[in-house]
């Protein structure tokens, strides 16, 4: 049992690396995002982004091994919801994964490769922090006021 204290408004969820837990993860995220004051549409966007990130962990980082686990950390502060998803599976180089060109994608009727694109489209920030052999971590942020100026300053 972990003994560290949480700062206020931080929630941890740890589930086995199985797709059956995606809906529990979405439900928890949905609840926290709703309570934080996001609109129903934003809440759905956030749920999709988290779903995609966790699906990738199960599919790619753990290569469908179900005896591993996924940590989901949700933090709410006055300006944003931060979601951190951690796995201890295979690492990858997120910079080596090109985002799809959607026109080309549709023309060539490709399959897959939309998860990270959706995460980046639906959230304000998506950052990977890969420590090979230790853990992989993706941090996603959604601001309450989707203020382009604020965002461009932060990047």
């Amino acid at each position: 049992m972990e003994t560290t204290n949480l700062p206020e408004s931080e929630i941890h969820l740890k589930v086995p690396s199985e797709t059956t837990y995606l809906d529990l993860i979405r439900m928890s995220v949905t609840k926290v995002a709703e309570d934080a004051g996001f609109s129903p549409e934003e809440v759905n966007d956030i749920a999709i982004a988290v779903d995609e990130a966790c699906t990738n962990v199960i599919k790619h980082a753990y290569n469908q091994q179900t005896n591993q686990n996924i940590d989901v950390v949700l933090k709410v502060d006055y300006q944003k919801l931060t979601i951190i998803i951690v796995d201890r599976g295979q690492s990858f180089d997120p910079n080596a994964v090109p985002l799809p060109n959607m026109d080309q994608y549709i023309e060539e009727l490709r399959v897959g490769g939309l998860g990270i694109y959706l995460m980046k489209t639906l959230m304000d920030e998506v950052d990977y922090e890969i420590e090979p052999g230790v853990q992989n971590r993706v941090k996603m942020v959604k601001y309450f006021m989707d203020d382009g100026k604020l965002k461009s300053v932060e990047h």
């Binding site: 809906d23 759905n44 699906t55 959706l118």
Partner: protein, 117 residues
């Protein structure tokens, strides 16, 4: 997972209508895939997917559609979509998939388009 249901109704010799209900994610996508595969296995290449009761779709659900569209079109059929809820429509729209799949407000229009193709 109680939150997913899929039903198929055959409509004439060449058409299937697939009803997808609940949450379509990486966990439930294999069942959607199965339903599409079954339709194709029985040479029904005219496929209407009714998303009326679909609350949620992730890229896993889109991947299933993308996995069949080429084969279906090459066989002279199509996959068309009907009754999308706003949040499901948004995902298709966001990705530009509205240019790839014909999307209809109701089953009647979708069937007409599907069979007149």
């Amino acid at each position: 997972m109680a939150d997913f249901e899929i039903k198929t109704r055959e409509d004439g010799p060449a058409t299937s209508i697939i009803y997808v209900k609940g949450f379509l994610d990486a966990h439930t996508a294999p069942r959607f895939e199965e339903a599409l595969q079954k339709s194709i296995d029985s040479q029904r290449y005219h496929i209407l997917v009714n998303f009326q009761d679909l609350n949620y779709i992730s890229s896993a659900g889109l991947g299933v559609l993308m996995g069949f569209i080429e084969e279906v079109r090459e066989a002279g059929g199509d996959i068309v979509l009907a009754n999308l809820t706003p949040r499901v429509f948004k995902v298709f729209d966001l990705l530009g998939f509205t240019n790839l799949y014909r999307i209809f407000d109701n089953e009647t229009e979708a069937l007409e388009a599907l069979n007149s193709k």
